[in-house]
Amino acid sequence: MKDDEGEAPTAEAAEEVAGPQTTGPPEDDLDLDNLSKKKKKKKKKKLVLDGGEDEDEAHEAADPDLDLPEIPDDIDLESFGKKKKKKKQPLNLDELDDALPDEKEDDEVDLESFGKKKKKKKRAGELGGDDMKDDDKENVEANPWVDSDRDYTYDELLQRVFNIMRDKNPELVAGEKKRFVMRPPQVVRVGTKKTAFVNFTEIAKMLHRQPKHLLAFLFAELGTVGAIDGNNQLIIKGRFQQKHIENVLRRYIKEYVTCHTCRSPDTILDKETRLFFLQCMSCHSRCSVQTIKTGFQAITSKRSKTKQ
């Protein structure tokens, strides 16, 4: 993935090696002239000044944090298909200002839309290409503090560690990691006092968790009771909307599905002497998770009824 995308910009790469020097002066000027101006503005200006081929430069100049969303996958878990509507917008944006690194774009890519995914991958590929250029650059200016007596700054170190990370894990940059796609819960009302969670079993299966465990969590969080009916639906006492169930599911995933260290969903939940442990298959970390406790339950039915 990285290779075939990386190929394309190599021609540019040659130019890019010389790039820092050529783009250097205007940047410096900018710094001197508008010290007060923020980084973002600088980036835009730079684009105008340098024209198309330095788009990649802009990527690099971007704050390292902007690349962060590439690494964790949890965004996907949290989206539940809700962002379908929003998708159109970023697509256009993508075309219009591809040059501006946009965190939002990363958020959008979770669903089954293959077209969009490709696009994203391409973007990632470009980034990958950047990194190859980065290597060359690195020799020149990776450790700007080396030649001087001054201490390195936090930002420089951060940049350095990100460069190393990307270097060693091309798949992180390329977004090759398996995406975890969450389907939204189907929630329908049953009569006036009950709610059916139609695809409950399906979702439990998708999360690779025992329905029993998920069920316990749902009931504890919602402060209610219920049962699975003949159609594998979960019938919950009380009125709940899809967004309510989504919220609870999101918390369940955060606590019991995604790894607490690397946020990979590739985990196993196993029980050991009354405690549940979350074992990650990606980074092999292992940590205990909260036990599901119902806690205090207020008596909500009429007292006369309970007495009978």
Binding site: E221, G223, T224, R239, I245, V248, F296, Q297, T300, S301
Partner: protein, 110 residues
Amino acid sequence: MSIENLKGFDPFADAAKGDEESVQDGLVHIRIQQRNGRKTLTTIQGLSAEYDLKKIVRACKKEFACNGTVVEHPEYGEVLQLQGDQRTKICDWLVKCGLVKADQLKVHGF
């Protein structure tokens, strides 16, 4: 000979209090429960037994304009019950009054 430094202050005094059932995991659990139809109930479990919950509930009732009561539970100690979904309000208020630290709050529900 005795070591003067260790006399006045017992560093484990707090820990002993932490064992009390009302405190449990040291968290204050704020839950919501549905009752007949659209009505809801907010419960606050785990407030330190050092506080006078009757006073707290009186202040809450006034502050949030809702009814409320204190329920004694054999396992969970004194639990505050407020009518309606007061979860965000009570969280803010408890922190604002300095009764609970923000990281001790655990909000449940949808």
